[in-house]
Amino acid sequence: MAAGLWIATKKIDYTWRWNRIPQYFLYHQEDLQTVPFDGRVSRIDKLGDKTIVSVISENGDEKNFEIDTATLQVDVDDELLVGDEVGATLHWRAGPLTLGLWTTLWLSAVASVFGMVIGLVTGLCRVSNNITLKQLSIFYIEVIRGTPLLVQIFIFYFFLGTVFDISRIVAGISALAIFAGAYVAEIIRAGIQSIPKGQMEAARSLGLNVPQAMIHIILPQAFKRTLPPLAGQFISLIKDSSLVSVIAITDLTKSGREVITSTFATFEIWFTVALLYLLLTSVLSQVIAWVERRLAVSD
């Protein structure tokens, strides 16, 4: 299949330009240094990579410019006019793909934390004996699981965003968190219900009340059992976060699209974007696997 693909791409005559990709992660930006007056270069001191250029104006003012040696454009005694370049300073700047990756990362992280909290509270309501709480949580779970995330994001952005005047980023994070919360709630419910009844009874018989028994006995055990499905949920969340690009949040996916409009390196960029998502999700899996090993000591 790989060979087939290779032949097919040969046929469509696509020029691969992988060498263009790195600059969208990190690039060297030149800040041009220009003289603010007419004058003459009085001295040039080369200090390795840096160079100090001194310029004296017609009425005797002296001004020093520190620039990178490689960009030096003048010689001693050159006459300069207002706005002429002396040289430039170079700075490393994060490119759009790096910024997009970062946005996706923190967006998913914040949404995960809120999703976990919402899911935990809803999951507890779901198993509680209070009928109202139970029905409300079931309603929430059903509504969220029964509608597409994309539609939820639009509702959050266009409807709730307008009514409550919330920014696109808050709308995006809320939509993701509330979406994840519904799934987390079901995972937590299943986890709690998988703990043998005897655990709660033993805790109660020792005089612990229900919240204490939950905190010390049931939830720690349920957490251990729900770690694999929770991990899957949060990995999904990272991937689903690409949908917020539709409400113009510059996450990894949107950055990729923007880079494509200026480079036309469509194939390379999408492969790169896919790899970056893979990087995020596999790092998360590794972290979770490590936590799982840590928790396995009591087995």
């Binding site: 655990q199 033993a202 109660r204 018989s205 009340n209 720690p220 009591s298």
Partner: protein
């Protein structure tokens, strides 16, 4: 210490009603060891679980140490900390070590300091004979050891009464003795105990009084000598013939 008056517990579900406990009135004096025996499904566990409020009663009264459990205003958590319970399936907390199992409720419920709780836990581990296992997780212990930890865990709350629900039924035969030994020692020390068991030897040796239950009813009640030698009721006679 414990008094039950016309205690009823009726389970309803799937169109049938089960009168698990059907009008039991009895009392347990302070320092007394009461053994409850009876055929499977006769309501022994349910009765015991009512005594510390794990089951809500349908009607009647339970008075533990002067507090009426059937009163809506009673805080059951306050009663439960005075009533220790040991289960057939041990129900140790698998994510905590032996020591942590024993200190948890002391800290959370009794608000003891960590070192005080640990000291009490170690005393009790010595008493039940597994001092060397304090840092082991329950999953690595034999059934008999787990049950002894469970007894220590209940004792750590310094309860006024201990309830045992078939504490040796889930054990391999060679481990029954070590658990019964701990229970006998407790009885000698004057602990008030209510024990559901099929160990007739234990009942005969340790019990001050034997209660025989059948179909949720308290059929016969008396000293072990009376019960094992000349039971009045036909059902008790039939049961004894089977088990002895």
């Amino acid at each position: 210490m414990i008094k039950t008056i016309d205690l009823k517990k009726i389970f309803t579900g799937r169109g049938q009603t089960i009168r698990a406990v059907d009008g039991v009135s009895t009392h347990v004096e302070s320092g007394e060891v009461v053994v409850i025996i009876g055929p499977s499904g006769s309501g022994k566990s349910t009765y015991l679980r009512c005594l510390n409020g794990l089951e809500t009663l349908t009607s009647g009264h339970i008075i533990v140490d002067g507090i009426d459990l059937s009163d809506k205003k009673t805080n059951l958590n306050l009663v439960r900390r005075e009533v220790g319970m040991v289960f057939q399936q041990f129900n140790l907390f698998p994510h905590k070590t032996v020591l942590e199992n024993i200190i948890l409720a002391q800290q959370v419920v009794r608000k003891r300091k960590r070192d005080e709780a640990e000291k009490r836990a170690r005393q009790l581990l010595v008493k039940v004979g597994i001092a060397e296992k304090e840092n082991v997780y329950p999953g690595h212990l034999s059934g008999g050891q787990q049950q002894r930890v469970a007894i220590a865990r209940a004792l750590a709350m310094d309860p006024k009464v201990m309830l045992f629900d078939e504490p040796t039924s889930a054990l391999d035969p060679e481990m029954v003795g070590e658990v019964l030994e701990v229970m006998k020692q407790l009885a000698r020390e004057g602990m008030t105990m209510v024990v559901v068991t099929h160990e007739m030897g234990f009942a005969r040796e340790v019990a001050d009084r034997v209660l025989f239950m059948d179909h949720g009813k308290l059929v016969e009640e008396g000293t072990p000598e009376h019960f094992f030698t000349e039971p009045r009721e036909e059902r008790a006679k039939a049961f004894l013939k089977q088990v002895l």
